[in-house]
C-alpha cells in the first residue's frame, strides 16, 4: 500500500508539521505576556519589571467580607488564596460581581499592594448548579 511516492510525501509533511509545531510552541511561550488576559495577585507580587503607569489587568476572587461601598467608589480585595491586592473602583458594577466570586479588574497599579481600576468584569467559573441544589447543599452543611 505505501508506495515510495506516498512514503516520501508522508515524510515531507511530517517534517513540515513537526517544524511548524515547534515554531508555534516557541512563539507562544515567548509571547506569554500578551496572551494572558490578566495577572493573578501572586504573579503581580513576583513580577520583576512592574510598570506603574500602563494599563494592566488583575484577576482573582473577591475576598469575603472585603467589599466596602463608599459614596463615589467601591473598595475590595482580590485574592488568589496566596497573595492579595487592594482595589479601588468607581463606576458601573456588573451584575455577577460579589464576594467569593471571580473578578477581573483593569486599570493602573499604584504599587504591589494597591490597584486603581477603571473597569471591572465579573468572571464566571466552570460550575453550573441549580439554585435548589445549592440551597439544599447549604442547608445540609449548616
Amino acid at each position: 500500500m505505501l508506495s515510495y511516492k506516498v512514503r516520501s510525501r508522508f515524510s515531507f509533511f511530517l517534517f513540515i508539521i513537526l517544524s511548524l509545531s515547534f515554531l508555534i510552541f516557541i512563539v507562544l511561550s515567548s509571547l506569554e505576556e500578551s496572551f494572558v488576559y490578566f495577572f493573578s495577585p501572586t504573579e503581580i507580587y513576583n513580577k520583576e519589571n512592574l510598570t506603574f503607569n500602563t494599563k494592566i489587568r488583575v484577576g482573582g476572587l473577591v475576598k469575603e467580607n472585603s467589599i466596602i461601598k463608599k459614596k463615589e467608589s467601591i473598595d475590595f480585595i482580590i485574592t488568589d488564596l496566596n497573595k492579595e491586592i487592594i482595589v479601588t473602583y468607581s463606576g458601573h458594577i456588573p451584575n455577577l460581581f460579589s464576594e467569593g466570586k471571580g473578578v477581573v479588574a483593569e486599570g493602573k497599579l499604584q504599587d504591589k499592594k494597591f490597584f486603581i481600576a477603571d473597569k471591572i468584569l465579573a468572571k464566571h467559573d466552570e460550575n453550573y448548579m441549580p439554585r435548589e441544589v445549592r440551597d439544599a447543599l447549604k442547608n445540609t452543611s449548616k
Partner: protein
C-alpha cells in the same frame, strides 16, 4: 458502509434513510430545546443566562470538530491523493463556519449580562475569531480559484495551517489566564455541571451532530455532482 460515500453510491443514497435522519435530528433538537429553555433549572449564579450554553457549547464544539475533520482530510488528500477527501472537506466548511459564527454571537450575548462586556481579546475568544477567519479563507480559496487542482492545494494548506489553531483554542483556558471559564466537561475529571443541566446539553449535542451530518450529506451530494459535471465538460 464507507463505500456509500464514494461518488457512485452517494447519489443513490436512500431518501428514506435521509428522511429518517432528519426526523431523528428534529426529535433530539426539539426535546433538547424544551429542556434547555423551559424544563431545566436556572443556575444559582447566572440565572436564566445559563440557557444560552445549550446552544453555545454544541456550536463551539462542532465548529472545532468540523475544522479538525477538514484538516485531517486535507492532509490525507495531499499524502494519499484520495479524490473524495477534498470534496468532503469542502462540504463541511459551510456548516462549520456557521457554527463558529453562532458560537461567537451566542457567546457575546451571554457575556454581556454575566461578564459585563460583549467582547474581550482573551486567548479563547481571539482564537475562536481566528478559526472563523480561517473558515472564510478556506471557502474563499475554493470559490475564487478557478483551477480545481490549484484551489484544492491552496485550501488544503489553509486547512492544515488552521488546524494548529485547534489545540490553542481548546487549551487556551488552561494555558493562559483568560476571562472565559475553564472546561466543565473533561475526559479526566467529573463534570462540574449538574446532571439536570448536563443531560439536556448532551441531547443538544446529539441533535447538533445529526444536523451537521445532514447538511454535510446534502452539500456533499451537490459537490460530487458538480465535480462529475466539470469532468465531463472538460472531456468534451
Amino acid at each position: 458502509m464507507l463505500k456509500n460515500l464514494f461518488p457512485n453510491k452517494i447519489l443513490s443514497f436512500s431518501n428514506k434513510l435521509f428522511s429518517f435522519l432528519i426526523s431523528l435530528m428534529l426529535l433530539f433538537v426539539f426535546v433538547g430545546l424544551i429542556f434547555a429553555l423551559f424544563l431545566s433549572p436556572s443556575d444559582f449564579t447566572q440565572g436564566n443566562s445559563v440557557r444560552i450554553m445549550y446552544v453555545h457549547v454544541p456550536a463551539s464544539f462542532m465548529a472545532l470538530g468540523c475544522f479538525a475533520f477538514m484538516g485531517i482530510a486535507s492532509i490525507c488528500a495531499l499524502i494519499f491523493k484520495i479524490k473524495i477527501l477534498p470534496l468532503m472537506a469542502k462540504s463541511l466548511a459551510p456548516v462549520g463556519s456557521v457554527f463558529a459564527l453562532v458560537s461567537i454571537v451566542t457567546g457575546s450575548l451571554w457575556g454581556k449580562p454575566t461578564w459585563g462586556t460583549w467582547w474581550v481579546w482573551d486567548a479563547r475568544l481571539t482564537s475562536m475569531l481566528i478559526l472563523f477567519i480561517f473558515y472564510i479563507a478556506y471557502m474563499s480559496a475554493w470559490k475564487f480559484i478557478d483551477n480545481y487542482e490549484k484551489a484544492n492545494r491552496v485550501s488544503s494548506i489553509i486547512a492544515i495551517i488552521g488546524s494548529f489553531n485547534l489545540p490553542v483554542i481548546k487549551y487556551s483556558v488552561d494555558w493562559w489566564n483568560t476571562l472565559h471559564q475553564t472546561s466543565s466537561i473533561t475526559l479526566t475529571s467529573t463534570p462540574t455541571i449538574h446532571y439536570t443541566m448536563l443531560i439536556p446539553l448532551i441531547i443538544m449535542f446529539i441533535g447538533t451532530i445529526l444536523y451537521t451530518l445532514i447538511v454535510f450529506l446534502m452539500r456533499y451530494k451537490i459537490e460530487i455532482m458538480k465535480f462529475k459535471l466539470d469532468k465531463r465538460n472538460k472531456e468534451n
